[in-house]
Symmetry: C2
Subunit: 205 residues, 2 copies
C-alpha cells in the first residue's frame, strides 16, 4: 500500500487519520505546485489528477479523501474513527457531511477562487466573483459549529472522529491562506487546541 500525498488539507487529513490508526503506510509526495499531479505518470493512477490517492498492493488506486478514510477504517477498525455500530457510523458520517457542506467545501472553493487562483485557474473552472461569498458561508458555518461544540469535547461528543479530523485539517489550512477562525468562537478555539495536541496530529503535520 502507498499513499500519494502533497501539500493541502485533503492529504493532511488522510495522514492524520492514518496516524490516529497507528498505521505505517509509505508516502510518495507529489509536487503539487509544479503540477506533478497533473502529469501522465499520476493521472494514469488517478484520472482526476488529485491527491490524496491510495494505491493498494494489487495496483488498484482509490481516490477521494473520505472514501479512502472509510476504506482504512474497514481494514483497520481500531481505534474507531468512524464508529463501531451502524448508528455510530451514521452519526459520524452525518457530522462529517455537515462540516464539509457548511464549512470546508466553501472554504476550499473560497481559496481556489481567490488566493489559490494562480494555481487553479488553468486546472479547474474557477468562479473568482463567488470567492468572498463562499468565505462568508464558511465563516457562518464555523459560527454555527461553535454553538454545537458548547459542552462537547469533540463534534460527536466524547468520541474523536473523522468529522474532527476533516475540520481540523481545513481550519489549519484556512489559517495559512487568509481564512483564520474568528477568535470570538471560543468553543472552536478550545476544540482546535485539543485536536492540535494529540500525538497523531503532531506526528502527521
Amino acid at each position: 500500500m502507498k499513499l500519494y500525498t502533497s501539500i493541502g488539507p485533503n492529504p493532511r487529513l488522510v495522514r492524520m487519520f492514518i496516524a490516529e490508526k497507528g498505521l505505517d503506510i509509505p508516502l510518495q509526495t507529489l509536487d503539487l505546485m509544479g503540477g506533478e499531479n497533473r502529469q501522465a505518470a499520476f493521472t494514469a493512477k488517478n484520472p482526476m489528477g488529485q491527491t490524496p490517492a491510495l494505491e493498494l498492493d494489487d495496483g488498484t488506486v482509490l481516490a477521494e479523501t473520505i472514501p479512502i478514510c472509510e476504506y482504512l477504517e474497514e481494514c483497520h477498525p481500531n481505534p474507531p474513527l468512524i464508529g463501531t455500530t451502524p448508528e455510530e457510523r451514521a452519526q459520524v458520517r452525518m457530522w462529517t457531511r455537515r462540516v464539509e457542506l457548511h464549512i470546508t467545501a466553501p472554504m476550499a472553493d473560497g481559496f481556489r477562487f481567490a488566493e489559490g487562483l494562480p494555481i487553479f485557474k488553468d486546472r479547474i473552472r474557477t468562479i473568482p466573483h463567488a470567492a468572498d461569498d463562499l468565505k462568508a458561508i464558511a465563516r457562518s458555518g464555523l459560527a454555527w459549529l461553535d454553538g454545537h461544540l458548547a459542552g462537547r469535547s469533540f463534534i460527536c461528543g466524547d468520541r474523536y472522529s473523522l468529522a474532527d479530523i476533516v475540520l481540523f485539517a481545513f481550519v489549519e489550512f484556512g489559517g495559512q491562506v487568509g481564512q483564520k477562525v474568528d477568535p470570538a468562537l471560543e468553543n472552536v478555539a478550545a476544540w482546535s487546541a485539543r485536536v492540535a495536541e494529540r500525538p497523531a496530529t503532531v506526528r502527521s503535520a
Copy 2:
C-alpha cells in the same frame, strides 16, 4: 423507522435506494414549499431543517442523504448498492463523490441561486451571481461522465450502485428546472434510459 421526505432530488434518491432494497419504510411527506421543514416540529428532529431524515425506532434521527443510504445498506446488505467488500465499497463511494463534486452539487447550487431563489433566499445564504458558472461546471461534469460511461452499463461498470441513484435523481430534477442534459451526451442518455426503466425507479417516482 420513518422517512421524512418531500419534493426534491435528495429525498427522491433515498426513496429510490429504499425501493431497490425492497424495503417498506413509512413515509411522512413535508410541505417544503410551505416551509414545514423549517418549523419547530421538524427542526427538533433535524436542526438543519432539511429532508430527507430517517427516524429510527428509538427516536434517533439520522440526516444527510448519503449517510442515510450507508446506514440502510449496513442494516439491509442485499441487494448491495454500495458493495460487499471494502474495495467495492471504496469504488462506489469514490464515484459517488465524483458525481457529487463535479455534477450534482454545482447543479443543485445553480438551481438554488437562480430558479430556486424565491424558495431559498431567506433560508440559506445564496450567491445568485455564481449560478451560471455553477450550471456550466455541472454541464462540464456531465460531459466528462459521458466519456466514462462509454462501454459501461452503469457508473461502476456492471454494478448498479448508489452513484447511479444519486446522479439519476439529480439529472431528472435538473430536467425539470432548466438544466436538461445535452442530448449529444449519448452515453448519459442511454444510461438514463436504463435507470428509468428499473422497477424500483418507477415505483419510487
